[in-house]
Amino acid sequence: VIDVFQGDLHKAGMKPLTFVRQVLAACVYPPLINSSNLPLDARQRTQEELGRCVGGSVGEGNVCGLMTWKKMKMLVVQDPQGGAEKTHRTQLSLLCDNYYFCGFGPWLRTQALLNREASPRTGVLIPVPCHNKTVLSIMQLGAVAVPYYLSEEQGWALQVEELQRALESAKGVCNPVALYIINPGNPAGIYSSQCGDQVIRFAWEKRLFLLVDEVYQDCVYGENCEFVSYKRTLSEMGPPFSGTVELASFHSVSKSFSGEYVCGLRAGYVELVNLDPAVMKYIHTLFSKDSCETVLGQIALDLMMDPPKPGDPSYLLYKQEIEQIRTVLVHNVKRVHEVVNSLPGFSCSPIEGGLFAFPRLHLTPKAIQKAKVTAEMQEDPDTFYCTRLLEEGGVFTGPGWEYGQKEGTYHIRFCIAVPQDVMEELLRRLSSFHMTFMKDFS
């Protein structure tokens, strides 16, 4: 079975990054620092990382969530993405206090923003389609997910008019306090920084807290596409926006090239911008009671932020491995687009970023009816398609309804981060299955 249901590169067979694994292994078992089997820079880096641990051990419980690594501080201050925002940030004192090792899920679960007991209920604007865990998390916390539809015709573009409509729809239902953006998107591989300033302006006008999930920032494929963080856009917009729009941006090692997609380490960070200092005090308390991040994960994050440089012994291999992954992804994205669009009743927007394809199934009403009748449990065509694809084609994908889609449209989602040969096999099986399916249900 080709499992492309989740965005898990290692499961799919992509190889980890040697340098990262060497450092992690040596951090776990320090006698390796003296091993000639490991390159000098890996050994030196290990010593640096262990030097930051009070007892020199990755087994200690790090002060939860608070980034105290000096290097982070250095990176923050010299952050080329910081732009004009730098001046303002220094006024916020202790830059590092604005960073917490914390993934998006844990951040939501701090419930700082979402007030379960509020009446009317708290609302969060979420894109459709969207990563389903987000919706579940929001609902679990007693808040309302207010959908805004990305425009499939425009390559899944985010349109401010649609944000406006969504906001209107919330009147009388809930009190929207936040706008959640996935940039680049999941599952819609859109890269929306281009309209970043419009979105920020909208958030500013409507007084919405911006939650920007940028875990796929390393996965941007379009030619001449460069990832621009929302924070950078915000700071470049200058006052009054840069000093007032409240923003939480998220990154993670699970989806980053240089973090080698170590989903299993569960490490990420959130940067909080323009939050009320009094609120920050409580956030600090919340993070301190919940040691959610492993020390190994924090080290992986550090390696992601500060990889081998030209001249370092590991640099060439590291660069080669990264390039290999990137080449595979860029190639896969192209192939998926080519193949899917060549099949009847199947279309796919250009995948600009992220790790998934979200192609659309075009079924005639007759076909939909026929499928519904045949389906054992009367399920929707997309679920039916995916189930059949798994059973007959041996490819495990996700049906569009799990992520949200416009009424009457059907999609499937699958991960494109697999080795090239696996992708070819996937596309071969998908094509063959699809042709049969379309014939049977025309």
Binding site: Q6, D8, L9, H10, K11, A12, P16, R21, L24, A25, V28, Y29, N37, C53, V54, G55, S57, V58, G59, E60, G61, C64, G105, T110, Q111, A112, L113, L114, N115, R116, K133, A178, L208, P239, P240, G243, T244, E246, Y261, C263, G264, L265, R266, D276, P277, A278, V279, Y282, T285, L286, S288, K289, D290, S291, C292, E293, T294, V295, L296, G297
Partner: protein
């Protein structure tokens, strides 16, 4: 605890006003209303306090910074005896565990002859169970299956053969994650029907923080300080009937061995608690993360599950329970790996389905932590190459802790004004300190709870960071502090002496 929150809130409100004013001055523009303010924030968040890393630790960090900058202090280092973090205090990791984890992290090392064969074998087995043979892959939300099976085996062996079903095992990110997850399932209802959760006073503040966060009702039952912090059924009954006036008590939490008190419950006591839970229809949560940390003569760890099953089917078929364990304590001390599990007993099958759904939202617990847990429940056996070293290291850690427990109790009991119950288990001591009235008055003047005042002074004068008893709960009018017994023996002796000297000075100053 209540008075402190009020005062703290007032102080913080003042601080906020000042910050706002200065921010306005800085920006030169009037402060535009934020979306997220103290008023619009989830009110439950304000109720959350976690003393172990609270204001005293922030002060300790501040002092460390000043020391680094060369500021002269009456001490040369800050000793952080506030948190149960063994490795940070110099405890060495278990070699075998780290070898296997290194092999899992960088499998090329499987070719390295310097690693013993039993370590390699375990690493291969773990990697085989991981997606793509990598610890970098997501695992199933409930945890890697073969590891859950190993955990079940471990429990069976520990409990004299009482069967354990791997489907009832949920791996988690430390025990805290599992504890909060279960509480989430249990807390519901409005007003008088709101779930009440019984917790011991004193308690580990994760519980009070989680209850505040979830908006559950905290029901305090007092441990008996005069009787070695033992649990009293009469007291449980008192707490429960009082609570029934204003909430719906559904849960009873026990920490055994105890934190911060270190008491190890007798088997009889555990039976009584189980009986009580059955009679009163309560869900039992047994926090057993210190199960290997038992020192006192005559004390023994009895798992709640074992006792439950030995009480016969009338109990073992009906009482609902969750027990928790972790890789952060015992002889491993690997807090940073966030390994842990819970075993659920007699959980409604439909609720179990919901539980799976709940844990799937956070995807999976860290895989290195799962791997470490596997080693803890599946350590080197007598016929394996790493056995001798493993046992040597394990014994060294546990016997050092036992010695330090004894030493601590002995020394503290010689200090006038300090009384200390035997440290039967866990990693802490929770001595009671008698504060002169003048000191209590001074504390109130400064807007501090008396034991916080005491601890802050100790920190400022001796550089020793402890946690005031108010962070854990204590009987009205009594004062305590919690100290870990983790610093190396020589350093611990110094700490004990300094506290002794401070106590004398302090008493004199406020006499």
């Amino acid at each position: 605890m209540k008075s402190m929150s009020k005062i703290t809130l007032q102080l913080q409100r003042c601080a906020r006003d000042i910050t706002n004013m200065s921010q306005q001055a800085v920006n030169g523009v009037s402060h535009r209303g934020r979306v997220l303010t103290l008023d619009s924030m989830n009110p439950n968040v304000k109720r959350v306090e976690y003393a172990v890393r609270g204001p005293i630790v922030q002060r300790a960090v501040q002092l460390e910074k000043e020391l680094k900058e060369g500021v002269k202090k009456p001490f040369t280092e800050v000793i952080k005896a506030n948190i149960g973090d063994a490795h940070a205090m110099g405890q060495k990791p278990i070699t075998f565990f780290r070898q296997v984890l290194a092999l899992c992290s960088y499998p090329a090392l499987l070719e390295d002859s310097k690693f013993p064969e039993d370590a390699k074998q375990r690493a291969r087995r773990i990697l085989e169970a991981c997606g793509g043979h990598s610890i970098g892959a997501y695992s199933a939300s409930q945890g890697i299956e073969c590891i859950r099976q190993d955990v079940a085996h471990y429990i069976e062996k520990r409990d004299g053969g009482i069967p354990s079903n791997p489907d009832n095992i949920y791996l988690s990110t430390g025990a805290s994650d599992a504890i909060v997850t279960i509480l989430k399932l249990l807390v519901c209802g409005e007003g008088r029907d709101r779930t009440g959760v019984m917790i011991s006073i004193p308690q580990y503040p994760l519980y009070s923080a989680a209850l505040a966060d979830l908006g559950a009702v905290q029901i305090n039952y007092y441990l008996d300080e005069d009787n070695c912090w033992s649990l009293n059924i009469t007291e449980l009954r008192r707490a429960l009937s009082a609570a029934r006036e204003h909430c719906n008590p559904r849960v009873l939490c026990i920490i055994n061995p105890g934190n911060p008190t270190g008491q190890v419950q007798s088997r009889q006591c555990i039976e009584d608690v189980i009986r009580f839970a059955k009679e009163e229809h309560l869900f039992l949560m047994a926090d057993e993360v210190y199960q290997d940390n038992v020192y006192a003569e005559g004390c023994q760890f009895h798992s709640f599950k074992k006792v439950l099953f030995e009480m016969g089917p009338e109990y073992s078929n009906t009482v609902e329970m969750a027990s928790f364990h972790s890789t952060s304590k015992c002889y491993m001390g690997e807090c940073g790996f966030r390994g842990g599990y819970m075993e659920v007993i007699n959980l409604d099958p439909e609720v179990k389905a919901q539980l799976i759904k709940l844990v799937s939202v956070r995807l999976c617990p860290p895989v290195p932590g799962q791997a470490l847990l596997d080693l803890v429940v599946n350590p080197p056996q007598p016929d394996e190459p790493s056995y001798a070293t493993f046992m040597k290291e394990r014994t060294a850690v546990l016997s050092a802790l036992a010695e330090k427990a004894r030493l601590t109790e002995q020394i503290f009991n010689t200090v006038p004004g300090i009384t200390c119950n035997p440290v039967q288990g866990a990693m802490y001591t929770f001595p009671r300190v008698t504060l002169p009235q003048k000191a209590i008055d001074k504390a109130k003047e400064l807007g501090l709870v008396p034991d916080m005042f005491y601890c802050m002074r100790l920190l400022d004068e001796e550089g020793i960071c402890l946690v005031p008893g108010s962070g854990f709960g204590q009987r009205e009018g009594t004062y305590h502090f919690r100290m870990t017994i983790l610093p190396p023996t020589e350093k611990l002796k110094v700490v004990l002496q300094k506290i002794q000297e401070f106590q004398l000075r302090f008493t004199q100053e406020f006499s």
